[in-house]
């Protein structure tokens, strides 16, 4: 009896320790971003919102933020438009391609962005497709790195529904395959789809390697701007880090809510 009471206590302590470990850098950054002055002392001197006001009235920050939003949303729209038909065709017409797809979607994981950048810089710096330095290369690269998340999440959803039966029933009722997909299949995988989109968004919003190596300051995204501010006031950058974290935090929270609802 004593043991069964002891174990959860140990478990609670471990979980709390884990939480403290994970929260510590974020909390410190939050306190730093709100403190008027904090250096060489354990506790900050006075609190202020000034850093956030400075940040959110900084036009360079706002522009970088907007560019990041634009690139991420465009990439997600693109991957949505491309992955949905691909998934449907693979699952409905060519289930045998599933194993090939499972292999292909591992590539963005297996090939680090730094490695991809080496080839991308050489292939698209000039030639017929001069994409380096503009937003398009980022949109296309973000499509490839969001692919594993989007594909896996949606494939799990499609595996869970009787896809051919649904389509066949729709056919019997006179619907075309495209209509059947839009009106029957899509609503069934909607929550999983939205969750995948929100998760991919918070992942893409923090991407730095492609943004820095392929585009840099020519189309400055939030991460590149943040990096360029590394020698500036820590309070200012902390306010930026916290704004960014709040943003991806909200997106993740939406994703998780959608996931639990679809279960």
């Amino acid at each position: 009896m004593n043991k069964s009471l002891k174990a959860p206590l140990l478990a609670r302590l471990t979980v709390n320790g884990l939480l403290i470990l994970l929260v510590a850098p974020i909390m410190t950054t939050l306190v730093y971003s709100l403190s008027a002055q904090w250096g060489a002392h354990i506790l900050p001197r006075g609190f202020t919102f000034d850093w956030y006001i400075t940040l959110w009235s900084d036009s360079r920050f706002l522009a970088a933020f907007a560019r990041s939003l634009l690139v991420c949303l465009a990439a997600l729209l693109l991957s949505l438009l491309l992955i949905l038909p691909t998934l449907f065709v693979v699952f409905y017409y060519f289930p045998r391609l599933k194993s090939l797809m499972n292999l292909l979607i591992l590539l963005p994981f297996a090939v680090p962005p730094v490695v991809s950048s080496v080839g991308l810089l050489q292939l698209y710096a000039g030639g017929p497709l001069p994409l380096i330095g503009g937003p398009w290369i980022l949109i296309f690269c973000y499509f490839t790195i969001s692919l594993p998340f989007m594909y896996r999440a949606l494939a799990n959803n499609l595996d869970a529904i009787p896809l051919s039966d649904l389509i066949d029933a729709a056919h019997l009722l006179g619907a075309s395959t495209v209509l059947a997909f839009l009106r029957v299949v899509l609503p069934n995988i909607r929550n999983g789809l939205l969750a995948a989109l929100f998760l991919s968004f918070s992942f893409l919003f923090g991407e730095f390697v492609f943004a820095n190596m392929l585009v840099g300051t020519r189309f400055e995204t939030l991460q590149v701007y943040l990096y360029s501010q590394r020698t500036n006031s820590g309070h200012f950058t902390s306010a930026m880090v916290m704004s960014y974290f709040l943003f991806i935090g909200v997106a993740t929270w939406f994703a998780l809510r959608l996931q639990t609802r679809s279960r």
Partner: protein, 316 residues
């Protein structure tokens, strides 16, 4: 190789649809043209959907496969000729060899520490009430996206020269000073971003453990540590190995947080690769390709070893 056509089971596909797609019936050279009536829908059923795969295949080919192939080919190129000189240059250079040992050293330690902390954390998490579990998993998912440049900044605030924790530990007399911009600093930073990933990967694996195994083990006289060592660990071994591999790959390919923390002052493979293609002194894309290929081969080797261990452990 064509599979038995399920099409024949569904002859109800109405003619108007066929006619609306008549242009897709054009490939009359398809193998099934001479067979039964059911083969006609089969032909367009397979031809038209394939077209839907084209845009995807095109983009994936251009932005994932093409750069990868460029790297593979150009690693063996010097001044337009096939050559192994790039690899010879790397092997002869203590500097590049150090970048590999540093990367592997950092990856091994951070993966090992991350995995151990995550294992203890997940095991504990599984024993606390469901609401707390959900909350911690939610926070872990958020933390898993907190990496790269913002993470490096957060660590400077926490553990930098005048970081809050550094000052606290100094005040308490636990450490004299902590240098974030060093090997141990990087191990701490890397371990931090490995923990959430490891938890998210390990969490589902615990579903495979059944509650009554603990009771069964206890009934047979096993101590808790024996239950953990002899029941839980063997069941979790494949998941642990798989997670370890993903953590290794994650750390070996990592670049943003180190770059943000110390620009190029720590010799890592990814830092060297980027310096060779995007630096401002010497641009040597083919040498970068050779380094990249070696990095990918290490990842491949690690994965192969992992597969081998898993397949072995299953038959014993």
């Amino acid at each position: 190789m064509s599979e038995p056509l399920t099409v024949s089971t569904y002859p109800s596909t109405s003619p108007p649809q066929n006619s609306s797609l008549s242009q897709a019936q054009a490939p009359s050279h398809l193998r099934h043209k001479a067979s039964s009536v059911a083969a006609k829908p089969a032909a367009w059923r397979r031809g038209l959907p394939l077209l839907w795969l084209l845009p995807f295949a095109l983009l994936f080919g251009l932005f994932q496969l093409a750069p990868m192939i460029w790297v593979m080919v150009n690693a063996f190129q010097v001044d337009g000729h096939w050559s192994l000189a790039n690899f010879k240059e790397i092997i002869d250079s203590p500097f590049y060899l150090q970048s590999f040992t540093n990367s592997i050293d950092l990856a091994l330690w951070s993966s090992l520490l991350g995995l151990l902390i995550a294992l203890a954390g997940t095991a504990a998490l599984r024993q606390v009430p469901g609401k707390l579990q959900d909350m911690v998993v939610a926070f872990t998912t958020m933390a898993s996206n907190f990496s790269g440049v913002p993470l490096a900044f957060a660590f400077i605030v926490l553990l930098g020269m005048n970081g809050a924790l550094t000052l606290l530990l100094q005040e308490a007399g636990i450490v004299e000073s902590f240098n974030l911009y060093s090997r141990s600093g990087l191990i701490v930073l890397y371990t931090y971003f490995q923990i959430p990933l490891a938890i998210l990967l390990l969490y589902p694996a615990f579903d495979g453990l059944q509650e009554d195994w603990r009771d069964a083990a206890a009934l047979l006289g096993a101590r808790p540590w024996q239950y953990w060592l002899r029941v839980v660990l063997p069941v979790l071994t494949p998941a642990l190995l798989g997670t370890f591999i993903i953590l290794l790959a994650n750390a070996l390919g990592a670049y943003a947080s180190t770059f943000a923390l110390m620009t190029s002052n720590y010799n890592l493979v990814t830092i060297q690769i980027s310096a060779l293609v995007a630096g401002d002194i010497f641009l040597e894309p083919q040498l970068a390709a050779a380094l990249s290929l070696l990095l990918m081969m290490i990842l491949l080797l690690v994965t192969a070893v992992n597969q081998w261990i898993i397949s072995r452990s299953r038959y014993e």
